[in-house]
């Protein structure tokens, strides 16, 4: 990237990139706005854990509601918009022709963001469903489904109209991310909100859904990006490429069974957590193959994009190992129902965030046809992201472990547990603040690039010449 900065236009910019500028910038921009907004709410929410009086008089922002709001904003606002931008751009590049049907993206993105805004207001006024990662009130879920489908249309067209018959591993992950989400999203909606299952079956559906959000949607987005960008940037082939297909199917096949690890000891059939523990082990095969395919990424001295991808991929692999280890009943006895699970979630979701950041640093200048205006802003964002991410995961993990040991000793009261975890939660809040600062830098940098570097006439879509053809 530093080499490329000497030219005016980044390397390898084609029509495929620049023609998709308007709708994809909408996705990238709204994703970053949600990321910053979600970060602010997450910061307040963490501070509430040790300052119960904070905003307690405001009915809209009780701890429980605020948690549901920031979770929804980050998952659907940030990962939804940002992930879709990456996936659509990848599919256009891999398909070899400019994105068609771009107006679907624009309309879809507007409604998607409207739905997330409505979700936040709905949860704040008491309409949360209380299912993790599916807190949106039922009346916005249909909007989300249809707007996601609209945004996905150009992706479908790029897939079906691809230049070459042969598909690349990045293709599979991108298409999986695009297609599986509407399926399991609509299934979960029906089984939880419209024709709810009875009793604790709802918990089984809810954990299945929440696991799918990661294993079938966000993880494939991240994998699609890394599998495309690494060979593209380094110019080297992927090692042991033939195995990639097994890695792909292992993730999808076993990943969606892993949700039951949150139900260990719960009022559900015991085979559900057992199955989840077994599948958590089996899914490590996917991570092993990903490591062997992409180990080139961990070579020192890459560009900023590669550094983001390397740290993101490293945490992705680490998160799988941690999830598997702490799915075992012996360790879950300590970490279940504690902040440790939030640390695990931050590690998994944070790894995807870092990979999307890496992809943004590569694709945004190509969409814009101009370079990032400031290298120091990129460095600042990188440092803040890495520092904040590591600190947040460690602090939440430590808080969770302390909390879990305390919970298992019946002599220790909740007030004592709270005083023991407080230090770590304060550290976690500071880490969240650092992350927020970094994300704010990225948002400002993006706006600077879009508003300052791209000529205004290029931001408004030019009417294409109407070709007079007989067809």
């Amino acid at each position: 990237m530093t080499n490329a900065l000497q030219n005016n236009v980044p390397d390898g910019v084609t029509d495929i990139d620049t023609t998709a500028r308007y709708p994809l910038f909408l996705l990238v921009g709204s994703g970053l706005v949600w990321l910053v907004l979600g970060g602010v709410l997450a910061l307040i929410n963490l501070a509430q854990t040790y300052t119960p009086a904070l905003l307690a008089d405001c009915a809209w922002l009780t701890y429980g509601r605020l948690q549901a709001i920031h979770e929804t904003i980050l998952v659907y606002g940030w990962f939804g918009n940002g992930g879709l931008a990456v996936v659509l751009w990848l599919l256009a590049r891999l398909g070899g022709s400019p994105l068609r049907g771009q107006n679907y993206i624009t309309v879809g993105a507007l409604f998607w963001n409207l739905a997330i805004t409505l979700s936040a207001i709905g949860i704040a006024t008491g309409d949360a469903t209380s299912f993790p990662l599916l807190q949106m009130p039922r009346y916005v879920q249909a909007i989300m489904l249809f707007s996601f489908a609209a945004i996905a249309v150009p992706g479908v067209l790029a897939w079906s109209g691809r230049r070459s018959e042969v598909t690349f591993v990045s293709h599979w992950y991108a298409v999986a991310a695009l297609f599986l989400f509407p399926w399991f999203f609509s299934v979960a909606q029906v089984m939880l909100n419209f024709v709810p299952m009875r009793g604790t079956l709802q918990a089984v559906v809810a954990t299945w859904y929440a696991q799918n959000v990661f294993s079938l949607w966000l993880a494939p987005v991240a994998m699609a990006a890394v599998y495309y960008l690494l060979p593209k940037i380094t110019g080297r082939v992927i090692h042991n490429y033939d195995f990639a297909v097994y890695g792909f199917w292992t993730l999808l096949f076993f990943g969606c069974w892993m949700g039951g690890r949150h139900l260990i000891g719960g009022p559900v059939p015991a085979w559900i957590p057992t199955m989840a523990i077994v599948c958590a082990w089996l899914v490590l095969f996917h991570h092993m193959i990903v490591y062997f395919n992409l180990r080139e990424i961990f070579r020192p001295g890459g560009s900023t994009v590669l550094k983001f991808l390397a740290i993101g991929l490293g945490s992705y692999l680490l998160s799988a190992v941690v999830d598997t280890a702490f799915a075992s009943r012996a360790l879950a006895e300590v970490t279940q129902f504690t902040f440790f699970q939030q640390a695990q979630m931050q590690l998994a979701f944070g790894s995807v965030t870092l990979i999307i950041f890496g992809a943004f640093y590569y694709l945004v200048p190509r969409l814009a046809g101009a370079h990032w205006p400031s290298v120091s802003l990129i460095r600042g964002h990188f440092l803040a992201s890495v520092l904040g991410f590591v600190l947040l995961v460690l602090a939440l993990g430590a808080a969770g472990w302390t909390q879990g040991l305390g919970l298992n000793d019946a002599e220790i009261t909740f007030v004592e547990i709270a005083s023991k975890t407080k230090t770590w939660l304060v550290v976690a809040t500071a880490a969240q603040g650092v992350l927020l600062f970094g994300n704010l830098l990225l948002l400002l940098h993006f706006l600077w690039l879009v508003i300052g570097q791209v000529p205004v006439r290029n931001l408004i879509r030019q009417a294409t010449t109407v070709e007079a053809t007989v067809s």
């Binding site: 009780t62 299945w208 069974w257």
Partner: protein, 211 residues
């Protein structure tokens, strides 16, 4: 992978298999679970909760109480659930058959509440004290002041008004939602035994369940 249709069939079946296995499988196992009729008592357990408690569950759900409180007791040798007095036996699926949206929860910043009603009764906690706690906050739980209103005293005072906390001539009255929430909390109880979940002492048991 050159074959598009096969690829999509693969994607579809991956999801369908996990859905069928996990959700239909559980449905087949638990779908026809019924309350257990107890001949000695002449009633079926679990009991249905009262209307006010049902409404209270909606308040519990909409305030997001589930973010800090679980409603599931694990078996006595797993964690300290029993030692903390949260329940004599493990919660089982049958306990939740009447609940429209069980609030199992995934986080214990505060105590488990599945038997809260029984505990409150044993410790002599009354509705009024619980309302006062809800207003003031206690033991790390935030105060929920917005569930209360100050009313001008006109004639007789309200029987539910809290003592103190209001300007002279005014009284502090819990809203309907506060009283529903408290009724719900006091109704939380799993006192009955089921064949699949009896209280047991792990030390006395020869056969421990597999860890």
């Amino acid at each position: 992978m050159k074959n598009g249709p096969t690829f999509f069939l693969g994607l579809f079946s991956v999801l369908a298999i996990s859905w069928a296995g996990l959700i239909l499988g559980t449905q087949a196992q638990l779908g026809d679970l019924r309350p257990l009729y107890d001949e000695n008592e002449g009633r079926a357990f679990p009991l249905r909760s009262s209307g006010i408690a049902e409404r209270g569950q909606l308040v519990y759900q909409d305030l997001g109480c589930v973010a800090c409180h679980t409603q599931q007791v694990r078996r006595p040798d797993f964690g300290s659930d029993k030692d903390r007095g949260w329940g004599e036996r493990q919660s089982v699926a049958r306990d939740y058959v009447h609940q429209s949206r069980p609030q199992l929860g995934q986080m214990r910043i505060g105590p488990d509440l599945v038997n809260y009603g029984a505990r409150a009764k044993a410790s002599g906690m009354t509705e009024q004290v619980l309302l006062a706690n809800l207003h003031n906050g206690w033991a790390g739980m935030p105060a929920y002041r917005f569930l209360f209103t100050q009313k001008k005293v006109l004639g007789e005072t309200s029987p539910h008004a809290l003592v103190g906390g209001a300007a002279p001539g005014y009284e502090l009255v819990p809203t309907a939602r506060a009283r529903e929430l408290v009724a719900y909390l006091l109704s939380l109880n799993q006192p009955y035994e089921f064949p699949e979940a009896r209280p047991y002492a792990p030390a006395a048991d020869e056969e421990k369940p597999a860890q």
